[in-house]
């Protein structure tokens, strides 16, 4: 998802015998639904996995500003421009809440950013695709934020307090994002033939990457199983992906658009939509840095950080010179 394929560092799920007394008590708290807070004892593997997961999520929000920032200066009406600006601002805010949550685990934001800029930390694959038309703004809000909501709502109940609370805040703001995306698509599909074609083209390009957001099937994944035991991953990748497909296909039909998948059909036995094969080679390549926009996205973030260094240093220098500066009321 926004945090795809998070490493736990473990080769197999810890059993009761593997655990120390402390770890057993910790696991019992989790099983009882008790929230783990920043000052509580926690296994090192849990702490490290959470740092990876939360920071990947945070990085995704920040990098996620760029594909949309690409169109904010070209928004076709002042109202759409305002809405898009607000959405992008929300994304920065989400990144901030998530970096805050990660920092409760004993890591600094600068360390996390260093890992991102060095290509060591990941962010969601979806943001490595280009935004080529105004319709992409609709597709992203509707499909990408829509997928994020599916992933994030369960996380509001995850075992780590600061992360769960950040998710609650994020979810409240996220439903506006999905709706504004669909609202853009509605306007396009009700518009001129050219606009409707623009909408179909955007759907064609974003559908499969959106499905890939949920990550490959993790039925065999040790990481996913361990994360599930720790209650920081609550549903499997396949379950979440299926949920997304099932809820989105009727929405596509309402728009009068076509799902870009000739194999998509309702399965009368399961009641779910069966869909075609996903190109996992593309997904893994994108994660590795070979997507259409990886280099550009990362270079933009690195440049912003480097170009801004003098500014951040200046503010530190000023504060140091004026330790006793009174705060304006």
């Amino acid at each position: 998802m926004y945090a795809q394929m998070v490493e736990t560092g473990l080769k197999q799920v810890l059993t009761q015998d593997d655990m120390s007394d402390e770890e057993r008590r910790f696991q019992a708290s989790i099983d009882a639904g008790i929230r783990i807070e920043a000052k509580d004892w926690m296994p090192e593997a849990y702490r490290k996995t959470l740092i990876r997961q939360i920071s990947q999520h945070a990085h995704s929000e920040i990098v996620g500003q760029l594909p949309e920032g690409n169109w904010v200066t070209r928004a076709p009406t002042l109202k759409r421009k305002a809405i898009l600006l607000a959405k992008i601002q929300d994304e920065a805010g989400h990144g901030l809440y998530l970096y805050s949550a990660a920092e409760t685990l004993g890591v600094s934001r600068d360390e996390l950013l260093a890992a991102l800029h060095a290509g060591k930390a990941k962010y969601s694959s979806i943001f490595n695709y280009p935004t080529l038309s105004w319709a992409d703004m609709g597709a992203i809000g509707w499909l990408v934020d829509g997928s994020a909501i599916i992933n994030q709502i369960p996380l509001c109940r995850c075992s780590y307090g600061p992360y769960a609370r950040a998710m609650v805040r994020v979810c409240k703001e996220e439903s506006f994002h999905a709706r504004q995306g669909y609202d853009i698509m509605l306007a396009l599909c009700r518009g001129t033939p050219q606009q409707k074609a623009m909408a179909q083209d955007a759907l064609n390009r974003w559908w499969w990457p959106a499905l890939m957001m949920f990550g490959p099937s993790d039925a065999e994944s040790v990481n996913s199983a361990q994360s599930a035991r720790w209650r920081i991953k609550l549903f499997s990748n396949d379950e979440l992906r299926q949920r997304m497909v099932d809820q989105t296909v009727p929405q596509i039909a309402f728009l009068g658009l076509t799902v870009p998948d000739p194999d998509l059909k309702l399965n009368p036995e399961t009641g779910h939509y069966d869909f075609g094969a996903i190109d996992w080679a593309e997904f893994h390549n994108v994660l590795k840095g070979n997507g259409p926009c990886n280099r550009e996205r990362l270079r933009t973030r690195v440049k912003a950080y480097e170009d801004g260094r003098w500014f951040r240093d200046a503010l530190v220098a000023h504060a140091d010179k004026h330790i006793d500066k009174p705060v304006a009321a």
Binding site: I62, V63, Q65, L66, E68, G69, V72, T73, R74, A75, P76, T77, L78, K79, R80, K81, A82, L85, A86, I88, Q89, A92, G93, G95, L96, Y99, W134, I184, A187, L188, R190, G191, T192, Q194, Q195, T300, R301, K303, A304, Y305, D307, G308, R309, W310, F311, R312, D313, A314, L315, A317, H318, K321, A328
Partner: protein
């Protein structure tokens, strides 16, 4: 076009062009917190743009709404001041430009509270709350950058020296301004010059920056539709979709 409509377009265009410029910083600011703050300002200004342009369109009575005005005019029909279309440059350039504008904007809006035009007074009251914060923020950043490191001082001084010649335009009275002031709708621009100079001087001094000469030669023409080369490109980008798909609803 009557004077009041022109005046409203000037106000709306200032906010629009500056908001458009600030939007370019999305995701590229020097710190996450700064990204959010800058976007806040851009959003506030965009809100003000819509209020001013809607009113201008209604008064004009030719069926142009805020979007028709924002997306349908060529550069020579825009009436923003030249300062706002100067490039973003680095963060010092952006924040000095912002500070010079915020300071004028603040004193203007305060004076507009007493406008004989009720709607203008109402927009001014709402906008003043936002702009009071904008001015505090930009002034504060100018001080921090000026009195920060040697590098930040050099960049900030550079921005001050570069942008100074665009600040005079705010205080030049033309026929439109005279007519509007005579009706009690708005203050004469020249009347805002001293308060602006006082506040700017105070901030520059706190920032340990050298103030440029107040009587330096000033650029002008934006208010009359004579712009710099920057505006054409900015509008081409902003207006593209509406121009490429005329008549479409979005």
């Amino acid at each position: 076009m009557n004077h009041l409509t022109t005046y409203l377009l000037r106000l709306g265009d200032n906010a629009l062009i500056l908001s458009q410029q600030l939007s370019q910083w999305c995701g590229k600011g020097p710190a996450l917190e700064e990204d959010m703050a800058l976007t806040n300002v851009a959003l506030d200004l965009l809100g003000q743009t819509r209020l001013w342009l809607s009113y201008a369109g209604e008064l004009e009575g030719a069926g142009r709404d805020e979007d028709a005005l924002a997306y349908g005019r060529d550069a020579h029909d825009f009436y923003n001041c030249l300062l706002l279309e100067q490039p973003n440059g680095n963060y010092a350039d952006t924040m000095v430009r912002q500070f010079f504008f915020d300071c004028w904007h603040y004193f203007l809006l305060r004076a507009l509270l007493a406008s004989s035009d009720q709607r203008i007074a109402a927009v001014a009251e709402k906008s003043l709350k936002e702009v009071t914060y904008h001015l505090r923020r930009s002034g504060d950043l100018v001080v921090r950058m000026g009195d920060g490191t040697d590098e930040s001082r050099a960049k900030t001084q550079g921005a001050v020296d570069e942008l100074w010649m665009y600040t005079g335009e705010f205080f030049i009275d033309d026929a439109v301004d005279a007519a509007i002031a005579a009706d009690g709708v708005a203050p004469l621009p020249s009347s805002l010059r001293q308060p602006w100079l006082n506040h700017v001087s105070q901030i520059l001094s706190e920032a340990t920056l050298a103030p440029p000469a107040p009587d330096a030669w000033m650029q002008r023409g934006g208010k009359q539709g004579r712009h710099s080369e920057h505006l054409g490109y900015l509008l081409a980008e902003m207006q593209f979709l509406q121009r490429a798909y005329p008549g479409a609803e979005w």
